[in-house]
């Protein structure tokens, strides 16, 4: 008998007792991991949050500042706005690709898979740099616009909200496509054919059979993309400007330029709280999907 993975957990179900490692040995095996994660992750993050409240003295002033200063409220709002637009665009562009990837076979399937996986495997830094090359004043896009006569003077594309949204959509698109693909691939063709035989048109069959059955993948893709967008740093830091400050870039600025790390800690706590709330609230939908390379 083979041990079958339990749905929803990447670690599988409970093994039978005779094949288990004893508690002493198990603790010994897992101890280095716990040491690494407590020392290199929990303690430093906890220390940052502790500092945001108790340094120099116990106060919630740092959190109050986020809510009182219009600039910070604007950044908070903009972060959610950009994450929302990026997620919506990724869904709009990603759904047809996922569907096509699941429907075709042979060489076309490999070609589409390569088009989705190659960008996923390219470093986020390289892709953000590529977007600068594309969007800068004398960049590829501006040159193309001038040559086709759509504009006479180069447009200011880089460091705008549009640039951040375009680049983030491209960077995060595979995280939308892959979960949808993994669900759509497993919808039996028979169901659509049955709907057609019962008199449904192709559009009707699509909207009443394929779309509802693909929803688990859509939910997972939307959540992963939204959560990653909320905390994304590299792309907004390189492609965005002072007018497109997001939570992540504001945290970076407060730490490196203004050296106000208790305030950076408060901002980080807000960002983390938003992320964790989404993850905990939707953990069932997210468990569908694991092991992708996160940015």
């Amino acid at each position: 008998m083979r041990a079958k993975p339990l749905a929803g957990s990447p670690f599988g179900g409970r093994p039978t007792s005779a094949r288990e490692y004893g508690p002493g040995l198990s603790l010994l095996l897992v101890a280095p991991l716990v040491l690494l994660l407590v020392g290199g992750f929990l303690y430093p993050v906890g220390k940052l949050f502790w500092g945001s409240i108790f340094v120099p003295e116990a106060t919630f002033a740092n959190y109050g500042r986020i809510l009182q200063e219009p600039l910070f409220l604007l950044v908070l709002w903009r972060t959610f706005e950009i994450a929302f637009v990026v997620t919506a665009l990724a869904l709009l562009l990603g759904y047809p690709v996922a569907l096509a990837m699941a429907r075709v076979s042979g060489r076309t399937a490999i070609l589409i898979a390569a088009c989705v996986l190659v960008p996923l495997w390219t470093s986020v830094l390289v892709r953000s740099y590529a977007w600068i090359v594309l969007l800068q004043r004398n960049g590829v896009v501006n040159n193309a616009l001038i040559e086709t006569g759509l504009t006479e003077t180069p447009l200011r594309l880089l460091y705008t909200q549009g640039a951040v949204i375009a680049a983030m959509t491209q960077v995060l698109l595979p995280f939308m496509i892959l979960p949808i693909y993994s669900v759509v691939r497993n919808i039996p063709d028979d169901l659509v054919r049955a709907a057609r035989n019962l008199g449904a048109g192709s559009l009707q069959a699509f909207f009443r059979v394929t779309v509802p059955l693909s929803l688990p993948g859509v939910t997972a893709g939307v959540l992963i993309t939204f959560i990653l967008s909320l905390g994304f740093y590299i792309t907004p830091a390189l492609v965005g400007g002072p007018g497109t400050l997001m939570m992540s870039t504001l945290i970076g600025q407060q730490t490196t330029e203004l050296l106000d790390w208790p305030f950076a800690g408060a901002l980080a706590a807000v960002l983390l709280a938003a992320t964790l709330l989404l993850v905990i609230f939707f953990r069932r939908a997210l468990a569908l999907n694991k092991g992708f390379k996160l940015g």
Partner: protein, 283 residues
């Protein structure tokens, strides 16, 4: 008679559907092609950039030259950053793979208290935004002298990479039949002997995939590296970040092409190996 009518009717529907789906496929091919172009363009564009002659970013490039690659390989700053990144990535691969494999064995096969919490803790570095981890580590490392330090980087990157190892090794362990190990134990092997002679060879593809993920999780990592790099000890990603902001030359395109090639070669190897083993299992 009625049956024949039904068959004919069904065939008609199917043929109509076939024609409709063919036109739909052709109509869909254009927008899907455009979306795939949008996906691929930023990866592909750095290659012609890196072989153009002009010192300014220019597309399409006018002449063909490898001088930006020469500039990269002969610049001591770039080379120092590259070696620093490589040393960190190799050390990270080793620590993350060993720690992650041991932990995966305990998490899949062991009797552990509070297992769910341990699993959640393991996945946490994947979920928590990297900027939060980066700032936390910077403030933690600075007073300890671990900023810009090899060991500081190995701790940080091992922590970021270890979830990938635990995930891939756990998946491999679930496909492994524990009866094989039981048989070895019954034949008189110790737990350690059974692990190294029976379990490890069987889960090796999962361990190898985890090791490759760990290497890339370190080598390509940019956010944490940006914050915990120093003036002396900086990674290739931090150096790229600085040069993009202050000194945008085609050398960056050359470095980008090299980085992309490293990722693509490693990841395609895993993907091809995975597809082959899937194929083998089905037959």
């Amino acid at each position: 008679m009625a049956n024949a009518d039904l068959v004919l009717a069904e065939r008609a529907v199917r043929e109509k559907g076939h024609i409709a789906s063919n036109t739909a496929a052709l109509l869909a091919a254009v927008p899907i092609g455009l979306i795939l172009f949008f996906l691929l363009l930023p990866t592909l564009i750095v290659i012609p950039m890196s072989v153009g002659t002009s010192p300014y970013i220019e597309f399409p490039p006018r002449g063909l030259t490898f001088k930006w690659y020469e500039a990269y390989f002969s610049d001591p700053d770039w080379m120092a950053a590259t070696w620093f990144s490589l040393r960190i990535a190799v050390a990270t691969t080793f620590t993350a793979t060993v720690i992650g494999t041991l932990a995966a064995v305990a998490l899949v096969r062991g009797r552990l208290p509070a297992k769910e919490y341990l699993q959640a803790l393991t996945l946490a570095p994947l979920i928590v935004p990297h900027i939060v981890i980066a700032v936390s580590l910077y403030l933690f490392f600075a007073p300890l002298g671990l900023v810009g330090n090899f060991y500081g980087f190995v701790i940080a990157h091992s922590m970021l990479a270890v979830p990938y190892v635990v995930i891939t090794v756990s998946a491999a362990l679930q496909r492994f039949d524990p009866n094989l190990e039981l048989a070895a134990l019954n034949c008189g092997a110790t737990r350690v002997q059974a692990f190294f002679h029976i379990v490890l060879p069987n889960i090796l593809p999962g361990v190898a995939a985890g090791a490759v993920f760990a290497f890339l999780a370190s080598f390509d990592e940019a956010t944490v590296a940006f914050f915990i790099s120093g003036i002396e000890g900086k990674t290739i990603t931090r150096k790229m970040f600085e040069d993009i902001d202050f000194n945008l030359t085609p050398v960056i395109a050359a470095v980008s092409t090299v980085l992309t090639l490293v990722s693509l070669v490693l990841m395609s190897t895993i993907e091809i190996a995975r597809r082959r083993s899937d194929h083998g299992r089905r037959e």
